[in-house]
Symmetry: C2
Subunit: 474 residues, 2 copies
């Protein structure tokens, strides 16, 4: 267990560090791609056109939305370790078999469960007010009466260091401005231990979100080894600002925090797998993926229902149109992503000896808004191939491409090992308005955008799985 937590911390940090988009370099692709390869990719234009036509305007129009809505409305949110998630996984396995997808099965992954229980924060002084909160993943709870303490609000870890003497016995509130998720999320993942080092009895954070309608946002956090574990929860942006204003007026601010949060048993969850077996190189694989678990608030429609369902429905469409590529396309619906990529970690261990056959790995976990191209991780030659592929998406106005060093939380393990991969570039500026909050519902999802994402997903996977040569790793 301790090992696993350490791995979580590492992954959380990696994720923070890996968020920057690389400078969009000018490559001279003539040095990398033969005319033959360029012509080969261009030859997929009719196939791509059929995919776009059938998914966006034809027989599959709104099918991703409808399948997703049916699923979300049936199961609601799907916290890792719950029976509800396992029922949702069974549903997807059953549906995959009905759709005649191939090699349909689940693969076990052990999940350390965490139970939120009841939770509340109440401002007691200078006046009484309920402060809606969401406890953060893996947080410990409080006693039944809760923790009643004065509040110290700080903007940063640096400010906490400077005001260390004031923190002892207090509830420390971290209220950093939202710069970007990558830059700001460290105040969620490390708040509790950083506050505890200065003697705080609990920590609260401003939700990691740029906009709020008094909606707290949960998310994972990790305790540092050998530091006292204190309870930690997220406040709505507005309430963090309220506490800041009160402190700026030199008012004594007292909060009572009650949380029943605690770790539960280790349970077994499953990654959900379905394939379209390759016609000539079935052992070679292109992976399209999203995660099926969600936080225990909202509906998990955006994070990551949308990503999971474009990955699943892209496979249905290819199967249905009898577009079977040379290599295998494998859809993986990861489990327990929200608890630290637990399903992906297990899959990484279990399939270590096969990855030489993995051509390309895709994940959609940053929304399925209106797409405009591909965001990818690859070497220079691969980069040139992607640039040729996105040219085929002219009908979708989705011909952009950006090279990054991280494009999906679950798949980072393999990207870091040098396997190339991609996500959809899309207009996800509002993603963090809803992320990990009660606002993650079907209302965030748009049928047309889901169709477009499905089309890009199906086309990209199909082309790469069907190219004469393996997708280059260099």
């Amino acid at each position: 267990m301790t090992k696993m937590i350490k791995a979580f911390v590492l992954l959380l940090l990696l994720n923070v560090i890996h968020s920057s988009v690389l400078d969009n370099e000018i490559l001279d692709c003539k040095n990398y791609l033969s005319n033959k390869l360029i012509a080969e990719i261009a030859s997929y234009q009719p196939t791509v056109n059929v995919l776009i036509k059938e998914i966006v305007n034809g027989q599959f129009k709104t099918s991703t939305y409808n399948e997703l809505a049916t699923f979300i409305d049936k199961f609601g949110n799907r916290l890792a370790g719950t029976e509800n998630l396992e029922n949702a996984i069974d549903y997807m396995l059953e549906k995959s078999k009905l759709k005649k997808l191939e090699n349909v099965h689940g693969e076990d992954a052990p999940v350390q469960t965490w139970i939120r229980g009841k939770e509340s924060a109440t401002l007691l002084f200078p006046r009484r007010q309920n402060l809606p909160i969401l406890g953060l993943g893996n947080s410990v709870g409080t006693s039944e009466d809760g923790i009643t303490a004065e509040v110290l609000t700080v903007k940063s870890f640096d400010e906490l260091n400077e005001r260390s003497a004031e923190a002892k016995g207090k509830i420390v509130v971290f209220a950093p401005e939202f710069i970007s998720y990558g830059k700001t999320v460290v105040y969620r993942s490390k708040a509790a231990s950083e506050a505890a080092k200065h003697g705080a009895v609990a920590a609260l954070i401003r939700s990691i979100a740029p906009f709020s309608i008094l909606s707290p946002h949960t998310g994972m956090q990790s305790y540092e080894a050998n530091v006292t574990k204190i309870p930690v929860a997220a406040l709505a942006v507005e309430d963090a600002h309220l506490l800041e204003r009160m402190q700026s007026r030199k008012q004594r601010v007292v909060v009572n925090l009650k949380m029943e949060a605690h770790l539960g048993e280790v349970k077994t969850s499953r990654n959900t797998i379905a394939e379209l077996k390759g016609s000539s190189h079935p052992e070679k694989v292109v992976i399209i993926s999203g995660h099926l678990d969600s936080w225990d608030v909202g509906q998990g429609a955006m994070d990551d229902g949308g990503g999971a369902f474009i990955s699943w429905n892209a496979l249905n469409v290819l199967k249905s149109l009898d577009l079977r590529p040379k290599r295998t396309i494998r859809t993986i619906l990861w489990t327990a992503e929200e608890f630290g990529y637990v399903g992906a970690q297990q899959y990484y261990k279990d399939h270590k000896n096969e990855t030489h056959n993995w051509n390309f790995i895709m994940e959609s976990d940053e929304g399925t808004f209106n797409p405009y191209g591909l965001n990818y991780v690859s070497g220079d030659k691969g980069s040139c191939i992607i640039k040729e592929i996105v040219k085929l998406f002219k009908n979708l106005n989705a011909t952009s491409s950006t090279r990054s060093d991280s494009v999906g939380s679950d798949i980072n393990l393999w990207l870091d090992d040098g396997i190339p991969g991609a996500a959809v570039l899309q207009q996800n500026e509002k993603y963090f308005w809803f992320h990990h909050s009660q606002g993650d519902t079907m209302d965030v999802e748009d049928p047309v955008s889901l169709d477009k994402n499905t089309a890009i997903w199906a086309a990209t996977a199909y082309i790469i799985a069907n190219l004469e040569d393996d997708f280059p790793r260099d």
Copy 2:
């Protein structure tokens, strides 16, 4: 009491009907304004410039925001009939005296109180899910066990009429699209009685809002005479959509609704009045106003803290700069607006014999976002005067004007009697994102926009109160 409720219904309906903006006609103002009057108005440019300079960039910069934030953070929301609102009124009276405003006093208004109590809605079938709700004003409650019934979701009153046979014994959910507040709010004000006429046991409405992060919006509703009073509450937009989708799949949808809502005692609240006495015609009056009460959710910072505080601070600024006009400028902070303009109705009765002296009446109750001019009700000559006044707001990029037939809920009584008036034109497209919800907090308010609103408010009131001739009513 019954009379009062009837008056509420009338006013609610009036408000709905009165929301349209008149066609912005081309007036030949040469027929209405003498060169002398045009020159007189133009001569205020230096005074307006001083007001803008001092409020937006000078000694009063951010004072409206700071005063408002101090007030909001001290009192939170202020439901009519609560001790908290009366404390807030005392605070404003005290503050007004400290600022040496004149004729500072409260004027009593009786308020039929309504108490929300605890409330919940739980989806029981096809699966269990908490549905956040906000009971609507004046709603009756349920028994302790609540009402458990099947749900019938309709888009409109017409659809309910068509499906009348299905409504009996059910909870009717009204899920109209948000067209505009004026056009859609009838589904809040009349939902309960319309559903009861078809035998429904309770009503739920899609919140009257164009955007949501799972945030229900409350508001006033009225029971029709001789129709069974059934409980009524607002669902979040997303949950109304959820119930619609379930019904479209022919699923049986069952909800349990619990509400402790009930009417309380009739209590005495107060309108809050402060003046700057006119130097030569103290009996003649220009009114600037907003309402001090709010709903019992969120903080009432936008609705209508901002409107109340620009009205109050505009008077402070004029007093402080020794800009005393010929006529009296009166700030009125209405009470119990949310319960049906109760304070305004009382004031209307109590001051019936003085209104021949009222020159102009202003209310800000639709937000204090970035302003771009004035929205006014007046005859043609008044219209031409307003067009000359807004020319003076060039430094604020606020030279637009629109003639309407309603510009403020409390002041409609007088506008309908032919007294001209105005509100600030401002970029309030997001007003109904926050209106009557937990999201009505100080985060909606912007210091710079508040300053600009205060400047327009102070300048408009000052000019009209200081013109040689009374503002024309024709």
